[in-house]
Homo-oligomer: 185 residues x 2
Amino acid sequence: MKKELRVMPAVFPMPVLMVGTYDEDGTVDVMNAAWGQICGMDKITLCLTESHKTVKNLKKTGAFTVALADAAHLKEADFFGIASGNDDPEKFKKSGLTAVKSGKVNAPVITEFPVVMECELIELTPYGVVGKIVGVAADEAVLDETGKIDVEKAGIILFDQFKAGYYIIGEKVGQAWNAGKELMK
Amino acid sequence: MKKELRVMPAVFPMPVLMVGTYDEDGTVDVMNAAWGQICGMDKITLCLTESHKTVKNLKKTGAFTVALADAAHLKEADFFGIASGNDDPEKFKKSGLTAVKSGKVNAPVITEFPVVMECELIELTPYGVVGKIVGVAADEAVLDETGKIDVEKAGIILFDQFKAGYYIIGEKVGQAWNAGKELMK
């Protein structure tokens, strides 16, 4: 018997998305977004309200990047969720991180985060921003010997909204499309 | 300098969502969905194509549940991603798990998964299913002394699509809205 709780967001824990944009002057803004997912293999949806500086920026530039925050830059990732680019145009500068322009879209790639998706804006829907992933890049240090992104090397952090904790990934406990094979009859 | 990779879904790792529905005869179906997220605090979006038995079912019933898979039921969770309710109406029965009807929506609550969201269908969009969360319930065993869901007790599994591994959560490395405070000036 389950206990009824109040209505709340209960998809957890989630990776911590770092959404990078330029404003009209080319100033970098980065926000920390809790809710984003892949759709159809080459699209990404971010549930963001229009009040975010990020949304104002990407409506003008038609582009954004989504990086994954790692434990080595937890402090900066959290800061990107506390400060607002609406209030402080120096937000990114204060983080101490650095950025270069994406070679594929008009948006900044943050140097320090290990994995990034470069995205073109498709549309804004009532459920948020939809982008097409046109490039993916990663630091060599987080790739395995076959060139695949290695989840353990990447040090990606996960956010638990119930107690607002950041976690790293733990033990591997199974292999997909294999663990459940014995139930196929 | 980052290495360019091919375009791929690079939001990872993600919780493993167990989407429960009834068909027109009241038969339970459960699928394993990689891509789902919260939107606007009381909504959930699932990027599912219309070919899924789940989507056919929820179009008829107007409801679904979303549970989070835990390590104790990894085998069954993986099986729900291998078998298809389109091919096998006995899919859920074969899993050995049990279900009761939600008290809030016309969809099954799987007994064994520790946390569930009970959802009413809002609409199908080009980017998937949108539902309103009308109830959340959890096993007492995964609540802490204040009644909050405890991410460590819950044993939620995470999916890494690059190497198809399932992981449990690891060490807590920081507190949100606190870790980055020192950068606020």
